[in-house]
Symmetry: C3
């Protein structure tokens, strides 16, 4: 039948160290974008109506294993698995997707979906080397299962996405995950606003003595293309709500970046800064998660709102529209922890 194969293979030689973390040196996957494969198709049903499907999975090229990273819970088609209809009314998709919030986050920073070197990606979804409990979007992963998603048509430069995923937990009605964004494009300017709210089981944090009960997140972003440079900015506010009153944790993440065309490629620069607003002085920002490493010496657990600053600079050289070589430097600093420094060289090929 009429199926398009597509995908991307991205391999990196890197020496990588997050703030407070151990240096690892070797061959890794996805310095610019996690490797993936996919196949998709569209059928014309007449009157502008189309039936669409899209099936795509992650793998790590350094090991040939399914998923975004070693030990990930990802299945064969965890990147996207949808079937749906599109037409004048917009587009309806059912299945598994990356959330609208995730797409606003990646499209409004110059390193896009680099899960390992985009500063704002790291601050939002990946967290530091530890402690995982201080990861803002722990629980609500960048991907969502059991989804119905509606995308509006674009009208006067505006479009929007709304995603709904029921919790599907027997005997726990009302649990759900909702995410959406609104986008505006006008010549050199692009704006986005995104939100996400999750009341389903929230990963490891749901099993603690003071369990996380819900999470909400807001994101605003803008890009402006001056020709000689394209500027990127975004601001996120994420709240983890815990069962005990007065223990909620609030994160603020900001990012500024730039892409500067030069030769056959672009210089890329991105700086993300995040902070935790503790509910009260003397309350630790860290939850001790059984089975995870203890906090290292030097991490203040009271009297201080920890901050993280991460900067990545790089050059991305296009050998063609489908193949690029890149070189990256990253600096990652977390309050009270040793600064981490990374260097990466890579090749990416799209098919």
């Amino acid at each position: 039948a009429d199926v398009t194969l597509y995908g991307q293979v991205d391999a990196t030689l890197a020496s990588r160290q997050l703030s407070g973390g151990i240096r690892t040196t070797g061959v890794n996957d996805g310095g610019m974008s996690t490797s993936h494969f996919g196949f998709r198709g569209s059928e014309d049903l007449g009157d502008g109506l189309k039936a669409n499907f899209d099936l795509s999975g992650f793998f790590t090229v350094d090991t040939g294993v399914t998923g975004r990273f070693a030990g990930s819970p990802d299945g064969l088609l965890s990147r996207r698995a949808t079937v749906g209809l599109s037409g004048g009314f917009g587009q309806l998709d059912v299945g598994r997707i990356g959330t609208p919030y995730f797409f606003s986050m990646i499209l409004f920073n110059p390193f896009i979906d680099s899960a390992v070197y985009s500063p704002v990606f790291l601050h939002t979804y990946t967290g530091g080397q530890f402690p995982m409990s201080a990861t803002p979007m722990n629980g609500p992963d960048s991907g969502a299962s059991n989804v119905v998603q509606y995308t509006t048509p674009t009208y006067r430069g505006v479009n929007a996405k709304l995603m709904y995923a029921p919790g599907e937990v027997a005997g726990a009605a009302g649990k759900r995950r909702v995410s959406g964004n609104v986008n505006y494009y006008a010549g050199p300017l692009a704006l986005t606003f995104a939100f996400e709210r999750d009341t389903t089981a929230l990963g490891t944090l749901a099993t603690l003595p003071n369990p996380e009960t819900s999470q909400r997140a807001y994101l605003g972003g803008a890009t402006y293309d001056l020709g000689a440079v394209k500027l990127y900015g975004q601001l996120q506010r994420i709240t983890q709500v815990f069962n005990a009153a007065g223990t909620d944790r609030k994160y603020t993440i900001s990012q500024v970046g730039a892409a500067i065309p030069a030769g056959a490629g672009k210089f890329l620069l991105s700086w993300a800064r995040s902070s935790i607003d503790l509910p009260a002085a003397g309350v630790s920002p860290y939850t001790v998660v059984p089975g995870f490493p203890a906090l290292p010496a030097g991490v203040a657990t009271s009297g201080v709102d920890p901050r993280r600053n991460t900067v990545t600079v790089g050059y991305d050289h296009n050998l063609s529209k489908r193949t690029d070589l890149y070189a990256l430097l990253m600096r990652d600093a977390y309050t009270g922890l040793a600064t981490g420094r990374s260097v990466a060289l890579g090749i990416r090929h799209r098919y």
Copy 2:
């Protein structure tokens, strides 16, 4: 090389409840047919001889995970993985397949291979919400590994399949699984007869104090197409043989159904009824399987031969030859248990 990609993506919004079971509401896979992908090819060897291969796997579109359902033992290509030859002599396939018995079961009911809404599929392979030990075809799954299968050519409307799978258990010669069917097609009439016999290890039932030692099954089916309506009927008799004398369990499953063309689609109706003939009064039809839920209150374990009645009605609307929308209602009732009621809306796309 000359490879054909094919497959199907089927997503459903459903509120589903089996008799005595818990209601789950959400986005599911495969209301009409479990989602799958595949690639296959044929090479012309001359003189009518062909070399064939077919590789196909299941996935659930709501989660992007491999297999027929969450937690299934299915591998990447569990739907079909074969290599073989075909020609004037018929067709020979080696590898993993769906059994001939399974194909007779699905082709002689109007909901075909809907693992979640075809009444006779549920009664034969899926069982009720519990107890799994009362599932007629527990052990001999719908798919079989280590198979050699021969398919005859069609002569005067008659063809047949015979499948043999050695047990491959070291030190246990003679263990095997055999399945076959004979089919007859004459204008509006189609007839099938199928059997299956399994002496290999039989799933959970093989580990019980009184283990299941073998299983045999017979199926007869007919369809007749009157034009305004196509009628479906089938009858199965399945015997689970246990180690202790006088404890065999016998199941009778019957199904009647109809498909009524209307507009761009069809109304579909199917009713399956099954009963267990207990070996003696006072013998429980249930085996307490360690790790499975206990029998709920209200289930008589002696003095009664339990029955199950399941009816599904639906409308399947074709947007094209490859894409359809469907709406289904199901009612499931098991002796002594609360009746379960389900509703489902879905979209299916073939590629």
Copy 3:
């Protein structure tokens, strides 16, 4: 995009028994070559430069499961997952590959990559039915992850491959795996020399009281095509270095073989012989690996350097360039153990 699908499906009916092992009879995968699928592509970047990718995974056609054998650690794309560049300078690949040593081993024996019936493949990578600790290339698998590999252009019939894989173990700098080969082709003659050295964690042997700390291997091979017969020979020397002084174990593996064109196919013959040089009289060649079967009665554990002789003969009949049928007989004898005899019939199809 411009993607080529390729692969091979190989199914075998066999009764197989290794020396000292239990006979298993049934339908198996890969009598001549383990089944696999793949997709690859090349992009012309101008000036003779190309970007390349190749993604390929193993599966077993008898069960439809991912990997080379039941219970293998293989991921979806464990056969090959690479991205890289090629041109006048040669070829650079990054990702996961089969090692250069492995390719020299398979290309210089007439049964090539038959993991179950090529005598020298069995002696080098698969080991006997037991004890796994006496497998020469235990630890360094035929495939390697985290690899950078350089292949030279061919100049006057000479080319070479060099592969480097850092250990990527945090806090264990200097651990690495290196493999390479040099090949020479001149008319009917082909020569190879290969080596491999591994200081990374070495499988089960790394967890023993006297752990294996490194392994090194050398291989020389030649083929000569006389027309009426093509002759094959290779010699390997493999050393497992253990932590305690004076306990290293040395293996010598030799293989001679022939391929004799006849009709539409070839007769194939291969004999491999291997021996262990014990470090001292009275030292057992076997390491008792917890969880593995004990040594059977009849295996001398001192005063004898054990030997293994394995001979396979067969006929491989081509139905076309892409499809063949084969019949094989194998005899496997290990010092002190009962001789094992095997017979296999199979079909293989390439696409």
